[in-house]
Symmetry: C2
Subunit: 123 residues, 2 copies
């Protein structure tokens, strides 16, 4: 097996869709995903897991029922399990890294048209 670094910007250059997380590698039974975000997502929660957002570029607000968390490049936030949240971008596209257990659905318990298919084509 050849071991190689994963360059986040190179991986982002390989897709353009928003709200469609791409698995780039795994860490035990967790997945490391990249996602482009633009606009407002849907309110949802993940009942069984926390979810880590690390912003790589742009400005992201994670709306919570009890407030909001504003993130820019180099900042991260872990949404606790069961906590309803709704990401929204300010002023254009955001690039973010997500980390969560394998199999988590982006829209959590909400479903709907923004539910993304599993995509590990960049891993």
């Amino acid at each position: 097996m050849t071991h190689r670094a994963i360059d986040l910007n190179e991986r982002f250059d390989q897709f353009s869709e928003t709200w469609s997380p791409k698995v780039i590698t795994t860490l035990n039974d967790y997945e490391i995903k990249l996602v482009r975000l633009d606009g407002e997502f849907v309110w949802h929660a993940h009942q069984d897991t926390d979810e880590l957002f690390l912003v790589l570029s742009g400005k992201l607000t994670i709306q919570l029922r009890e407030g909001e968390v504003r993130l820019s490049a180099g900042q991260l936030f872990v949404v606790p399990r069961g906590v309803e949240h709704c990401p929204i971008t300010e002023g254009g596209e955001v690039r973010a890294m997500l980390i969560e257990p394998a199999g988590v659905i982006n829209t959590g318990d909400a479903g709907g048209e923004l539910t993304a298919s599993y995509d590990d084509s960049l891993s």
Copy 2:
């Protein structure tokens, strides 16, 4: 509970020691750690877990018995469980984020004087 973003650079400003990972937050039963690296570490392996390195600044080489992985800012590598590795920096200090299950010891199965105490004072 107040939810706030974690700024990685702000957290780095709060310590200066090298080879001493600081837990900044948790993700389920995983820990997100920041570490400053400078020079060469010790050869070791983690028999029970993969280990993620994301380089935030500087140049890091992860030496493996079968080659090496060179990382610069914005690049990550997951050392597979059981694989012997030895980080070494090139040209000065490296800032990195580590992600691994709670309780992992930095020197793995090697032990020795570089074994760091558990430190979650920045979380």
